[in-house]
């Protein structure tokens, strides 16, 4: 066990409850490694999660942690950040939590460009409740509620985040655990709304339903279907077919919400002329 895992995870809560081979543990480690790399103060860092298997991560992480209601992690995180803008607020959320019940909060957090980092554990399924499809379940993939294949098209959540105004958007995978550390570092460092979409494996529901084999095979699937953005630019469109982009997908500048809010407070206070 590495030092960051020892220091930044609550040892008394381990081993965690996730199923054998679940990607959640890999992603959680990359996030704590990123926090360690930047050297964030444990006491000034807040981890907020919603509800789902992945959202259980907040309970294992040794920071100020809040395990909130389904879909509402971003709303609690927004409140915390507005009340205490000096805190580093990181949101851990599942694809169902973030993009189904929490979808509206997601786009509006992006629109406001509030300084939060959102890590989406994207296993393409509702793991906790038994494998129902989510808005990120790929078209035609199977789920317990789509036994003949999903008729709905999935969101490209990274594109949605960019369109809605997020100022840092990246995609990683559980397989590329090392690269994920760097993506999360950049996401945290961005002063604005940052999203890291992490393609992960739920071997128990998604994997079994879609006959993807063992957790190890699902990780190798991620390796074989991920296309680093730098390499993708040089490839003909046919060679990109069936693959997804990983790496830094978007970076832009925009006014950050809590900073603007502070300015407004100062302006509204006036110049102490008692008027």
């Amino acid at each position: 066990m590495s030092e960051s895992v020892g220091k930044f995870l609550r040892q008394s809560a381990l081993p965690h409850i996730w199923c054998p081979g679940c990607g959640n543990g890999i992603i959680m480690r990359s996030v704590v490694r990123a926090i360690e790399k930047i050297g964030l103060d444990q006491r000034k860092t807040v981890i907020v999660s919603g509800i789902g298997c992945s959202s259980r991560s907040s309970g294992y992480m040794n920071f100020n942690t809040v395990h909130t209601a389904h879909g509402r992690a971003l709303t609690f995180a927004t409140g915390i950040k507005l009340a205490r803008p000096e805190l580093n607020v990181i949101v851990m959320t599942g694809d169902g939590d973030c993009t189904a019940i929490g979808g509206n909060h997601f786009i509006h957090s992006a629109r406001r460009n509030i300084d939060l980092t959102t890590v989406i554990f994207n296993n393409g399924i509702y793991g906790m409740t038994g494998g129902q499809y989510s808005p990120l379940t790929p078209f035609s993939a199977k789920a317990t509620t789509a036994p003949y294949g999903n008729l709905e098209r999935n969101f490209d959540i990274a594109q949605l985040a960019i369109a809605a105004g997020a100022t840092y958007v990246a995609r990683g995978t559980a397989y590329h655990a090392q690269m994920l550390v760097d993506l999360v570092v950049k996401a945290i460092e961005n002063k604005g709304f940052s999203v890291v979409d992490v393609i992960s494996q739920c071997p128990v529901y998604y994997g079994r339903k879609n006959k993807m084999g063992s957790a190890g095979k699902m990780l190798l699937w991620q390796r074989d279907h991920a296309l680093p953005v730098q390499a993708a630019d040089k490839l003909e469109p046919e060679k990109r077919q069936g693959k997804f982009l990983i790496g830094e997908l978007h970076k832009s500048e925009a006014p950050e919400y809590t900073a603007e809010y502070e300015k407004l407070i100062e302006a509204a206070k006036g110049k102490g002329d008692g008027q």
């Binding site: 066990m1 895992v5 081979g21 559980a174 655990a177 090392q178 190890g216």
Partner: protein, 68 residues
Amino acid sequence: MAVEINRRYCKGCGICVELCPKSVLVLDEIGKSTVKNPDACIYCGQCELRCPDYAITVVKPVKKEEKA
């Protein structure tokens, strides 16, 4: 031992066994990861990096020159 396995944490998912490029690890009779070929280990750390359960630590041996 180069690869240390915390048996209390291991859930036997087999990721380390499948991803080790040198077939160092196997699942034992109760399905937990165990070191079978310690001498084949090249200390690449692939198993530790992707163990979802934090059950593996790869300890690089200290080279003789460095010891001095």
